[in-house]
Symmetry: C2
Subunit: 280 residues, 2 copies
């Protein structure tokens, strides 16, 4: 493993989530990061599996790039409980294998025939099963609240408060939360809940994406580039910092128009937008 | 004005919002209601303006059909404050003119350069301007919280609690709230807030639509027929009833596939689905 690469000015905490520039393959991503002073990335399971977990680990380690998170475990409310647990143990192994301490969890929507309360009970049970396995491997489980528009089919955890309630029974070094501006900006309680999460040492991941309208069909790929939407990013950053968080700040944007562009140019634009938020 | 038409069995509180069957013109809607024992409708401004407010009033009054609400005033955060107030006074006049005591308000999204707190301040100011005008005409202003996915561009009031906070300075007979299952089902606080709204005498309108996925582009026309989605409608109805509400229950669904079908058949299906909820 080489020494850490040198971060560009103001990029000490910046991490690019690979989905933001998914048009770049892993070696291209590493090259582009090197060119632009980016020293940290967030990764996704599928491209890592395809490339090989060990090969991906070595690629980033040799370039001195830190892996700040792996997306994603979760979907705890699916019918086959054993398959769910097996897949999440595999995700924990992959996180450890690729060299990150943080696995992001998208918890799953409503179970067959059940409501939100049932869903959250299933999520709590799965966390209890998985937490010791994760702790043994030095991986933190980071529960990501998703916007309420995903509550039925993707994630019954819609607020940072609910995520914190689910994390509470566990050691803060093992189970925490993700603060993602896209999912939480609408909630009047979020500043207070960020303070609570920070005080509890449970902010394991901080992600930026902006809210733009109209939403596309399926509402998955309509996130906006930082500064293109309505979210006060600098306020979020200051609130998270004031809560005691000093970890990486990942930009994770799913946007068809951005994916259609040159990936290096998108990374450059993202770096510029991030710098403005970090300096504000 | 004729006597009230006779409601079909179990339909005493049922009201069909005209948008659910917008393929039916007003005279067809009246005929279909007569055939199916439906004695109440919720109306929208544009079709009423087109038909003529007085003519619409007379059409429904002569058929013995009650108008349970008019949609919609609001959009208080638009740049031209005077135009906003003028348009809302016109909406209040139209509500009185068509013979309903309830004007539904969709409050508007983020103002130019402002955030959610600014938006809600603008909404509060507009309500203060409009409440005396509405009270003088016997029209109740019903603030509708919309799902958080509309917070930026349509309605900065995302929860029943926020709507109640905005209503609180005013007489309950003048300013209240709309409880719409589609917008509120995801919120763990909603049962308690419905109880609060009922205790305050502020439930002015109760609307049903189901949550189905995937959401369509623009997320406006993807509401589901009652029973097709994940919302526990009977639980909502019982909660609203337990809060002391005994007024009309409107079904208001925006759904392209339902609009493409025969309107009378959609009304019949809606009546059947409603009966199941009312009996549960």
């Amino acid at each position: 493993m080489s020494a850490a690469a040198a971060a560009g000015p103001g990029l000490e905490r910046f991490s690019i989530n690979q989905m933001t520039v998914k048009q770049l393959g892993l070696p291209e991503l590493v090259e582009a990061c090197g060119e632009q002073g980016v020293t940290a990335v967030g990764l996704w399971r599928e491209p890592i599996q395809e490339y090989g977990v060990k090969a991906a680990h070595d690629l980033f380690a040799e370039a001195g790039i830190t892996v700040t998170s792996l997306c994603r475990g979760g979907f705890f409310t699916a019918p086959d409980r054993q398959a769910v647990l097996d897949d999440n143990r595999a995700a924990i192994d992959e996180a450890a294998g690729v060299g990150t301490d943080t696995l992001v969890l998208v918890s799953g929507g409503l179970p067959e025939g059940g409501g939100l309360v049932d869903a959250r009970a299933r999520i709590a049970e799965a966390l209890a099963e998985l937490a010791p396995y994760a702790a043994d491997r030095g991986v933190r489980l980071a529960i990501e609240p998703l916007h309420p528009m995903y509550a039925a089919d993707r994630c019954a955890v819609s607020t940072l408060g609910q995520a914190l309630d689910l994390a509470e029974p566990f050691d803060a070094g093992t189970v925490g939360v993700v603060v993602d501006t896209y999912h939480l900006w609408w909630d009047e309680r979020v500043d207070r809940q960020i303070a609570d999460a920070g005080a509890a040492g449970r902010i394991h991941c901080f992600q930026l994406a902006d809210w733009v309208t109209p939403l596309p069909a399926g509402v998955l790929t309509g996130r906006g580039q930082i500064g293109d939407g309505c979210i006060d990013m600098a306020h979020f950053r200051r609130t998270v910092d004031a809560a005691g968080y000093d970890g990486p700040i990942e930009v994770e944007i799913f946007n068809e128009a951005m994916w259609a562009r040159d990936g290096r140019e998108v990374l450059r634009e993202t770096v510029d937008r991030y710098r403005a938020v970090a300096a504000d």
